[in-house]
Amino acid sequence: MAIQDALLAFPWAVALIFLPLAGALSCFLFPRIIRTLGLITSFSIVVSVVGLGWQLLEQGSYRHTIGGWSPPLGIELYADGLSLLMLATTALVGFAISIYSTAYFKPTLAVKFWPIWMCLLAALNALFLSADIFNLYVTLELLGLSAVALTALTGSKEAFSGAMRYLLATLLASLAYLLGVALLYHNFGSVDISLLAAQIQASPAVWAALGLMAAGLALKTALFPLHFWLPPAHSSAPAPVSALLSALVIKASFYIFLRLWFTLFEPVVDSETISTLLGLLGCAAILWGSIQALRQTRLKLLIAYSTVAQVGYLFLVFPLSASMGSVAWNAVAYLIISHALAKSAMFLSAGNMISFGGHDRIADLDRVVQRLPLTAAAFALAGVSIMGIPPSGGFIGKWLLLEAAVTQGQWYLVAVMIIGGLLAAAYIFKVIGYTFSPAKVMHEAQSVSATMQWPALLLAIGAILLGLLYVPVLSMLSISDVVIASGVGL
């Protein structure tokens, strides 16, 4: 009993931020055992998330004031259902990527990879636990810089150019965001989200802040037409880095936007028009991303464009949250998680195929199904979730969005989603079709270790199983203590 109470009272949220930072430091200090340290840290993050989850289930949403200083002066950590889900996703995907990276990176690169990766994890965790907009800015910056560093890891020309583009885009976005924060702080005297929510009123400053923050976060999330930096960055990075970029980093800025929109801005601005605008951009993203993905001849670019398309789906929650808030909310949570699992599985299996064949040309994938069955299975299962075919998490998300769209009579959204699904099927099966057939020129295969194949497969299986676990996920999502008029739980 005492142990149980102790475990419940333990500040898991703080641990979530502290542990990866400590891990980063130790990786930097002890390069010899860097892989072990990295794995231990990842695993401890998973444990902490479990602890936090238990805590939330027992006690409801969680607030922790750091150092005892409460807002408006101090920093507060806040965890509720949505943040728990994001943290859990981060922990799981991060753990899988860590296992993969132990086998992927040679020691020279590993020394550079692990510290930065730990920093990135710390930034992510902190971001999901933040409760005020300035803290969000800090973590966002940290996240962006770590991500850029990881992108440029290999040091090749391509990597540099992609990382450079990413850096400039992310800085521009952060700048805009900071301006928004400044505007809000200036007008309302606080950066804490709940305090702001209580005080916010419609005024030109708020509108400007919304414009800046929305555009900045849209740029960071690579919403059409601001997606230009994503394909080169994600495709020129090493495979595990691409995985974490597409699966986790993008979701962070989207998470921020989700929070801010529903808590701060939606009640006080003309939300309908903006929602429609965001929805239209989302539709364009779906169509454009899918069409571009279909045209690619290189695997990693195909997957990167697929990410652009999937981000479009996420933005469809805004027009659909008007009257059926909870359905759209559940849908977006589901889409985020299943996309994270599926996309990371895809990038990891692409990494395997590249190690195997030395190239990632789709047409020359030489009977991968026979020679790398686990990888092919991982790619196929992940593809099933991306396409939105049952049974998978992607299907559940798509179903919920479709239900919301049909009930609200927004048939253009239905049409776009269905067409997006068909196009996704087209490009996924293009790859799968080539994995069955021999290439024109056979080549020698390098072997790929099991440590690299199994994480991909397990992530993909996770994406599929998510389709059958609706009830537990939903119960996690509903933990919250702020309920807004539109019926959307936060």
Partner: protein, 436 residues
């Protein structure tokens, strides 16, 4: 006591008579027995001889098939058994033991079919067995590769298929009206004014075609022409007689369709006249042309039959009075014709194919074939509207909208920074403005 035992014995013999040849038709079985064809006929012979009437039902077979034998049927059965026996003797199986003896298989299958037709007591059983008999006979026609018989076989097949379809529709109409398929019940039910006259037409079409009643006799004369005695014999004891029997059993007892009666009588009269003319002009006493006579004799008989039928269609009382005469008539007639066939058909080495299918019918088939071929081409053209083409069109359109190539040079990949920053600023302004 003993009479019931006899009845059981006869019932069992009846079943054996039908099943035994069916079993024997399997090649591994009949290869091991001597004289398999004759052996198969023995139970039926027994039935023909013993004068006990039975009728029973097997409820779990098909729709509750029944079998029955009575005095009338025994008349026909007697002639039937004799003719088949003779046919079995004169058509000896192939000498080589190595290849499977399909001739015997087909012989026995046809025999089973004909016997079954004779012995069943309801319409569904009749139809099933007559299908077996029909296709078996087709096999018999073409099994030795004789070119003349091949052509006849094809014509017979067309006739068979069309007739079977007509009879199936008739059967459907019966099923629509009643649940009981026994002959008498069917004749009663289908003779009520309320029931569909289409049944009558279908029955007539079916059996007229099968029995080669004038003017659809061409395949019959060609078959007799071919010089094969066994074929001619089996025709008599098989399709022709059984089809006449079918007319007897399936014909509804209604006499309100006067015009049909007239038509049938006309057909009958025309048949008789035509055949008499043919027989006279062919010269009965010339050796080589006796063959014509035999087929025309059959046509005469069927003409007589249709004459009688036509009369009955006008006045059912005639039918009631004289129908009992028909069975012995059929029986005696078939025996007579068989005798004629046997005596007139000496062994012939050459077969003269005289194709008297009218040109019109040949043309029709040819035209039908051409029309089907053109439909095929139309179908290939229709492929254009299939989904595949729409998808090809879609991807073609998509290709037109690509300015940004994204394969090899990542640097040249992205449009200018200026454009992107402009887009960013536009987005900021748009959202800000729309927030109002």
């Amino acid at each position: 006591m003993s009479s019931s035992m006899y009845i059981e014995f006869i019932s069992v013999t009846l079943l054996i008579a039908v099943i035994w040849p069916l079993l024997l038709s399997i090649p591994p079985l009949h290869r091991r027995l001597p004289w398999p064809r004759h052996l198969a006929i023995i139970p039926a012979a027994v039935l023909a001889v013993i004068p006990i009437d039975v009728s029973f039902n097997i409820p779990w077979l098909l729709y509750g098939t029944g079998f029955a034998i009575d005095g009338n049927i025994r008349w026909i059965l007697g002639a039937f058994v004799v003719i088949w026996f003779v046919a079995a003797t004169i058509s000896l199986p192939t000498k080589e033991k190595s290849s499977p003896d399909y001739a015997t298989t087909l012989f026995l299958l046809t025999f089973t079919g004909s016997l079954g037709v004779l012995l069943t007591a309801d319409l569904v059983g009749f139809f099933s067995f007559s299908t077996l008999m029909g296709y078996g006979f087709y096999g018999l026609l073409i099994q030795d590769g004789n070119k003349a018989l091949l052509k006849i076989g094809r014509h017979y097949l067309y006739v068979l298929i069309v007739a079977d379809i007509a009879l199936f529709e008739a059967l459907l109409l019966v099923a629509f009206t009643t649940e009981n398929f026994q002959y008498e019940m069917v004749r009663q039910t289908m003779s009520e004014i309320s029931s569909s006259p289409i049944y009558l037409y279908m029955v007539l079409i079916g059996f007229v075609l099968k029995a080669a009643i004038w003017p659809f006799y061409f395949w019959l004369t060609a078959a007799f022409n071919s010089g094969s005695r066994s074929i001619a014999l089996l025709l008599i004891a098989g399709p022709i007689t059984m089809s006449l029997l079918g007319l007897l059993r399936w014909m509804p007892a209604r006499d309100d369709i006067y015009i049909l009666g007239f038509v049938m009588q006309f057909i009958g009269a025309a048949a008789i006249l035509h055949s008499v003319l043919k027989i006279l002009t062919s010269g009965m006493f010339k050796q080589g042309t006796r063959r014509f006579n035999t087929a025309w004799l059959v046509i005469t008989f069927t003409g007589l039959f249709s004459l009688a039928l036509g009369a009955a269609l006008q006045d059912q009382n005639l039918w009631q009075q004289f129908s009992y005469l028909i069975y012995p008539a059929i029986s005696i007639f078939s025996l007579l014709v068989s005798l004629l066939i046997l005596s007139s058909f000496k062994t012939h080495n050459e077969t003269v194919l005289i194709d008297n299918t009218p040109v019109l019918i040949k043309n029709i088939f040819h035209r039908l074939k051409e029309w089907l071929c053109s439909t095929q081409q139309l179908a290939s053209a229709i492929k254009l509207t299939s989904l595949t083409l729409w998808i090809k069109l879609g991807s073609f359109i998509m290709k037109q909208y690509q300015h940004v190539s994204s394969d090899h040079k990542i640097r040249a990949f992205v449009p200018d920074w200026k454009i992107n920053i402009t887009l960013f600023l536009i987005l900021v302004l748009a959202i800000t403005w729309l927030a109002v």
